[in-house]
Symmetry: C2
Subunit: 221 residues, 2 copies
C-alpha cells in the first residue's frame, strides 16, 4: 500500500510517517506545498530510521504529485487549510481514500475548545469538498504527535474511525492496526465525527491540568 | 460526608449510590420527586449491599429534603429536568456542592450526538441556575451506569471533573477516589465542560459499533 501524507512535514504527518515506515512495509510518501521541503523532511525521516537500523525509502513531492501516488491520502494539515488542499489536489484523487485527522479548535483562558466548521466537523468538511466517489475516513484525531514521533516510546492507545464507506474504513483500520500499539475503533458514520474530533481539545486540557498526562492518549475499555 | 443523589432512583443514581455505600463510609441519601419511591429504592440498595455482607444505612426522601441533608448533592436526573430540579431545591442548597453528571444528547440513524443546551453544556446550565455561592462541579459523565451498578465487576476507569471552585472540585475528586477503580482527572474550569460531556455519546457509539465495548469506560494514559 502507498500512503501519502500531505502536509507530511508537520507534526502529525511526521509522527505517522515515522511509525508507518518503522512498523510496516507500506510505502510512505511525504507531500508539501514546497517539494524541496518535502524531500528534505523525507530524508530526515530516512536518517531517523537508519539510526535505528531500519533502511526505508521515504520520498517527498509537491502535494499534488504525492496525492497522485497515494492509495491512501492523509490530510495532515491544519484545519483551516484542509478544504483548499483537497480542492488543489482534487483531480489527482482517483481510487484514493482520503483520511482526515485535523480538528478545529479555539483557545480561551480555560483551555482548548472544540470549534468545528459549520458543516459539523473537519471530517465532514473534507467529505463536502472531496470529488464525487472519493471516500473519506476520519481518523488519528486523538493521537499525540510528539509521543508517536518518538520511536523509543511504546504506545497503547486507541483511535476512533468514522466514515460512510465500509471498505475505505476497513482499509484505514488495517493501516492503523499495522502501527504497533494503536487500535482502530469503529465510531460509525461521518455524522459521528464531531464527538470524535472533540476528544482532541479534551486531551490537551487534561495534559494541562494533570501531572503525567501531557501527550496522553485514550483507551476505551 | 453526606452525599445526596437527587434522582437517585435512576440508573446513574443507583450506580453511584451502590458504589459509595459499598466502597466508602460516606452517608448515602436518595432523593426522588416521590419520597415513597426514594425510600423503596433506598431499601433495595440496602438489600443488595446486605447480600454482599455489607450492612449500610441508605435513606430515601423527597428531593428537597435530600438536598437539604447533602454536603454534596448530585443531580442524577435527565438533562431536561436539571434546571427545574435545581430551582425546586434552591433554598435548601447552602454549604452544598452541586455535581452535574447529565449530558444532552440526540439520536439519528448513525448514533448518539452531543446536543447541549444553548449555554454550552448541562454543567454550565446548572451553574447558571444554581443559587449564588453554590459551587458546581461537572463529573461522572462517561461512567456506564450498568457497569458501575454491578458490584461484581471491578472497574478501572477515569472521570473528568470540571469546575471553577477549586475546593469544591477537590472535594468531588476525593469522593471519586473513594470509589475503587475510578480515577478523577482535572478537566479545568466549567468552560471546558462541553468537551467532557461530548465523550458520553462517543462512548455509546463505540459500544454500538465495536464488539466488547458495550458499557465501556475511558482511560487516559
Amino acid at each position: 500500500m502507498r500512503i501519502s501524507l500531505l502536509g507530511g512535514t508537520g507534526d502529525i504527518g511526521e509522527a505517522l510517517a515515522l511509525r508507518w515506515a518503522y512498523d510496516t512495509h507500506h510505502e510512505v510518501v511525504i507531500g508539501s506545498r514546497d517539494p524541496e521541503r518535502a524531500r528534505t523532511k523525507a530524508e530526515e525521516y530516512e536518517t531517523e530510521l537508519r539510526s535505528r537500523d531500519v533502511d526505508r525509502k521515504v520520498t517527498g513531492f509537491a502535494n499534488g504529485m504525492a496525492a497522485d501516488r497515494g492509495d491512501v491520502v492523509v490530510l495532515a494539515v491544519p484545519p483551516y487549510q484542509v478544504a483548499e488542499l483537497v480542492e488543489s489536489v482534487a483531480e489527482k484523487l482517483s481510487d484514493t481514500v482520503l483520511v482526515s485527522p485535523a480538528v478545529g479548535m479555539s483557545r480561551d483562558e480555560e483551555g482548548l475548545h472544540y470549534n468545528p466548521p459549520d458543516v459539523g466537523s473537519v471530517t465532514q468538511l473534507v467529505d463536502a469538498v472531496a470529488p464525487e466517489g472519493v471516500p473519506v475516513v476520519g481518523a488519528f484525531h486523538a493521537l499525540s504527535a510528539d509521543r508517536l514521533a518518538n520511536l523509543d516510546l511504546a504506545v497503547d492507545i486507541d483511535t476512533v474511525l468514522v466514515g460512510d464507506d465500509p471498505d475505505a474504513k476497513d482499509q484505514v483500520a488495517r493501516l492503523t492496526t499495522d502501527i504497533e500499539g494503536v487500535r482502530p475503533l469503529d465510531g460509525g458514520g461521518l455524522a459521528n465525527a464531531p464527538e470524535v474530533e472533540a476528544m482532541t481539545p479534551l486531551l490537551v486540557n487534561l495534559g494541562t491540568y494533570n501531572d503525567g498526562l501531557h501527550d496522553a492518549g485514550v483507551k476505551f475499555q
